[in-house]
Assembly symmetry: C2
Homo-oligomer: 284 residues x 2
């Protein structure tokens, strides 16, 4: 372990499996907040370039500067792949950034965010107000409880899209990467139901990506397809999300609706969506 983690001028996240570390120069605010909840330790930093930074148990969750990449790619591709998504479930996503993007879609009638740790959301409201600007939308619902249990107890066919916006597959999030969870998601989804889940770094976690896709299919999904996108604050700077569908129609999407979308994006557009579907040769 390097010696300068969390020193006075930098915050550093080492990544064991990548033999790498990414560091943020801190701004004048330094460490703005730290608290230990029943689930984890949450810290908030002021950084020089990346703006406000949220860190959970030493792992970077998001920065104000580049979270648009992740949040747009976790929400718009899956929503534009589904023919008519009305009922959306977000597992995790306590910072509310995914929720905000989901609610930009006028066709969405309800979006339930099931985050286990309410403090993540309360701190997001305080330190990332821009991500929480849709929290008072009447279509938004918040449940602070266990996402796995929520999906197991959900009525069959009650969601069109499930977005798993979770931490890494260690600790409380581990069960979110396993077949029983995917089987429960499959049951909770309607006829054209789609699941999308963050699936780590293609460079560091290719095996995890393959295992996840296999578990999704074992859980009942007919097809899986990964999306690739940059996410500088996550290990290696290259990230992925994996789609799972009840039908094999994950590589076509409502392109005309993307072009006519009634909201602004900073990264996502039709070509970016198509490009994110491209599979690197080594992942074939």
């Amino acid at each position: 372990m390097r010696q300068t983690i969390d020193d006075r001028h930098w915050f550093t996240e080492p990544c064991e499996e990548g033999g790498s570390a990414f560091s943020f120069r801190l701004g004048p605010g330094g460490k703005l907040h730290e608290e230990t909840t029943p689930y984890q330790t949450i810290a908030i930093y002021d950084t020089a370039f990346y703006g406000t930074l949220m860190v959970i148990d030493g792992f970077v969750m998001l920065s104000a500067r580049d979270n648009f990449l992740y949040h747009e790619m976790m929400s718009h591709p899956v929503l534009f792949t589904h023919p008519a998504p009305r009922r959306v479930l977000i597992i995790g996503g306590g910072d509310c950034g995914t929720l905000r993007e989901v609610l930009r879609h006028p066709g969405v009638e309800s979006a339930v965010q099931v985050e286990i740790d309410e403090r993540v959301t309360r701190l997001a409201e305080q330190y990332f107000p821009e991500l929480c600007e849709a929290n008072h939308d009447p279509r938004a619902q918040f449940r602070f409880t266990d996402g796995i249990k929520w999906v197991e107890e959900a009525e069959a066919g009650s969601y069109d899209v499930i977005i798993v916006d979770s931490t890494d597959p260690i600790g409380p999030a581990e069960g979110l990467f396993q077949e029983p969870f995917y089987r429960a998601c499959h049951r909770a989804l309607g006829e054209d139901g789609l699941l999308v889940q963050q699936s780590e770094s293609p460079l560091y976690h290719a095996e995890l990506m393959r295992d996840m896709a296999a578990a999704m299919r074992a859980g009942g999904f007919a097809a899986t397809h990964s999306l690739y996108f940059p996410q500088p604050v996550y290990p290696s700077g290259w990230w992925s999300a994996t789609l799972a569908g009840k039908h094999d129609s994950l590589t076509t999407f409502r392109e005309a609706d993307v072009d006519a979308r009634p909201f602004a994006t900073r990264y996502y557009n039709r070509d970016i969506h198509r490009g994110a579907l491209a599979t690197p040769e080594f992942m074939m």
Copy 2:
């Protein structure tokens, strides 16, 4: 400046403009070599995950683990965009990785690599032999001299493709990012001539990318288009290369030839090429 740069267990590259730093855990070999040439200081490290690492003046040039991303994207897109590239000029590229990819194309009749510092190539031969495996190809030529001067003195229309595989636009490489150089490239290129140049991080250097494209057009090129791809060892992990063409035909390429390519790639394929052409909304 953080205090642990180049300590015993890690090599760290800080990035001033990104307020960030990327660190590599060192392997048992530690620092394998360091020398100061008339141009720069070159260091070679053994890292735990990224394999052998070359660093010039403190800036990471390449790692054994992930250079395939950069080298494939610096060579195959431009070569499959040109209708029939026969004569290729590489400016910089002393590690020979781009040269190796260029020579995979059977239609290429000559590839001249013009690197200012012969020691980069000699160290690549020693520490990155896999990148130098095409160095004895009879189509390969090596000139250790100034790339700007080489292009200025080149016969008009004598190259089909110019690849600028340079260091950052500070120090000796600065002139490679300016209009007079692009004007000389334009003159040195044949009728369907194409230029491609590494153009830094979209997150950190969007303004540089725009300035570069403007300078390319001011230098006589009819069109420019940037390619986006992951490159974990470069600042932010997200990188770009910018194409410039004498004609406005940079977004179509020989797709059937890509599919029928007689060589293996690790990242590049037809969908990846198309995807790399997608422009993020914030760069529109």
